[in-house]
């Protein structure tokens, strides 16, 4: 039997396998170079990038929880100009599609960022981050309301011609409604989910461990919630979905695909097992052979039938 086909297309983003990095968990692809080749990924999504450089939130920024991790990094990044000058040329040479995650404080900022990247051929797609729980201004405010999310995405759509992904927050009560508005506004695909707002209290100091009080929870602990988000959204939306949140094993990735995700992204699990992309690809391959699938597309949403 020939190897099953696991390449996928999200908008115009052509990936040799369905496993992407989740933004903020793989830096700019350079950090893990000596440990696992960038080429193992279907696409690389880089850190949330803003107009101006940002130093992020004061430390401590991380706290571990049972099977999870809360972070309060606060979009620490060198800013769009440095990313364009220093990171993109190097990333562009690797032959792996590059997706830039964009975070703005206002509509104007998102538009500016999209325009800057419209000029850069190395960037095959952008992922609008309207879901970061760790910054005060912008971002998640757009992602929490269907009308403003739709308006913002429509504006960015006018300014960016290549693949436009929009990353949504699960910290809302009407996720399918927001997803629908974003689809209607012209998004090519949805990324689900960003982190869940969460906290830990130090009972000795009697205060939150993170100076910001709360942060975003990721890792295996959030997988059931993420899966539910993908399940609910794919019931009503037609654009492709990139599923993420707590993927730690090949089986986790398969669950997301069966729930309706066209591709998956891995974040926190990279920190623990940098070899995870190859393992997931291998796991999907053998699962497909076992179940008699020839093309990964046949598997998408199979749990619904």
């Amino acid at each position: 039997m020939p190897d099953p086909v696991i390449s996928v297309k999200i908008g115009d983003l052509q990936m040799k396998n369905p496993v992407m990095t989740a933004s903020g968990c793989y830096g700019y692809g350079e950090e893990y170079q000596d440990i696992v080749p960038l080429e193992a990924w279907g696409a690389v999504v880089v850190k949330g990038t803003t107009c101006a450089p940002r130093e992020g939130n004061p430390p401590p920024r991380l706290v571990e929880t049972p099977s999870g991790l809360i972070n309060s990094v606060g979009l620490h990044n060198p800013g769009i100009e440095t990313v364009i000058e220093r990171e993109l040329p190097r990333l562009g040479e690797k032959g792996v599609p590059v997706v830039v995650n964009l975070a703005g404080e206002s509509e104007e900022e998102y538009i500016y960022l999209a325009r800057r990247l419209e000029e850069r051929a190395e960037v095959e797609a952008v992922e609008l981050n309207i879901s970061c729980p760790n910054v005060k201004k912008g971002g998640i405010a757009f992602g929490s309301d269907a009308v403003s999310a739709g308006k913002l995405v429509a504006k960015v759509r006018e300014n960016f011609s290549r693949t436009l992904l929009v990353k949504l927050t699960p910290n809302v009560g009407n996720l399918p409604e927001i997803a629908g508005a974003v689809e209607k506004a012209g998004a090519d695909a949805l990324s689900l989910i960003n982190t869940l707002r969460a906290m830990v209290i130090d009972i000795h100091a009697q205060k939150p461990v993170l100076p910001a009080g709360t942060g975003g929870l990721s890792g295996p602990a959030i997988k059931p919630v993420a899966l539910r988000a993908v399940w609910e959204v794919t019931a009503s939306v037609n654009v492709p979905v990139v599923g993420m949140g707590g993927i730690f094993t090949p089986e986790d990735a398969i669950e997301f695909i069966l729930a309706g995700a066209n591709a998956v992204a891995v974040g926190s699990a990279i920190f623990v097992n940098p070899r995870i992309p190859a393992e997931i690809v291998e796991g999907i391959n053998s699962y497909m052979k076992q179940k008699g699938y020839e093309n990964i597309g046949e598997m998408v949403g199979a749990a619904r039938q």
Binding site: C25, P59, P60, R61, L62, G219, P220, V272
Partner: protein, 257 residues
């Protein structure tokens, strides 16, 4: 994993064989996956306590603190441990003739490897090591190298100098002329102690390098979770302890942020 032995109260020496690290600079760390499970979730960083390139034998000196170290101390010889490393920037070894190593508590862990390597390079090396009581310190004859002298301190006076290791350092620098003490101080220990060591070194105009701690996720610079404020040319910057560190020029580190 080859062996695990208690060295002091809540402290253990862990030896792992068959670890291919290549060249290791003292002060670099390894990132351990303690169990192939999701809880504890993250890897844990430990400084290289010693590494024998030929035998590919890695030793770590660790203190039980919580979940992961509690599991680590119970591991049975023969258990496989996933080791990533060596990672981070180590101590500067070049251009030093007389070195003073100052370790507080489990902070002595990286200083042993540093002491051995400095001595092997012909550097005159002395180590000041402090703990709460003698029970918190390894055996008196446990040395990085036969020619490295260790001056011990305990807060209750049960071994060596009575007082903190910082107090001992201050006395040591006052009593001995600079030409005989050090042209470089290296330190590792609790943050409050490092802050004092840096102040003391600055008062004596001796360069100082410190190894910092932070909670790590990736350990390779990708997540930006482990930052510490540092004075840079451009002003205060949050630098990654795992990547730009864990060893920093002590005078640039901001301790009271």
């Amino acid at each position: 994993m080859k062996s695990i032995d208690p060295t002091a109260r809540d402290c253990y020496l862990l030896e792992i064989e068959g670890v291919e690290l290549g060249p290791v600079i003292p002060g670099q760390f390894v990132h351990l996956r303690v169990l192939p499970a999701t809880d504890p979730f993250l890897r844990r960083p430990f400084s290289v306590h010693s590494y024998d390139t030929g035998n590919r034998l890695l030793s770590l000196l660790f203190q039980e603190r919580g979940k992961a170290t509690g599991i680590l101390k119970e591991l049975k010889p023969g258990t496989a441990i996933d080791v990533m490393g060596p990672l981070g920037n180590g101590f500067t070894l070049n251009g030093v003739a007389r070195a003073l190593l100052v370790g507080g508590g489990i902070g002595i862990a990286p200083l042993y490897y540093l002491g051995r390597r400095l001595r092997e390079a012909g550097v005159e090396t002395r180590m000041l090591a402090g703990g709460a009581t003698s029970l918190d310190l390894p055996a008196e004859n446990y040395k990085p190298h036969p020619e490295v002298q260790i001056l011990w301190s305990t807060e209750d006076g049960s071994r060596g100098y009575r007082g903190t290791v910082v107090a001992m350092l201050k006395e040591h620098l006052l009593k001995n002329p600079r030409e005989e003490t050090a042209d470089m101080i290296y330190s590792c220990g609790p943050t409050a102690m490092l802050s004092e060591v840096v102040k003391t070194a600055s008062n004596h105009r001796i360069p100082v390098e410190v190894s910092l701690e932070a909670v790590f996720a990736c350990g390779v610079g990708a997540c930006l979770g482990c930052v510490h404020p540092v004075n840079a040319r451009e002003g205060t910057r949050y630098l990654r302890v795992c990547k730009e560190g864990p060893v920093f020029n002590g005078k640039e580190v901001i301790f009271d942020a």
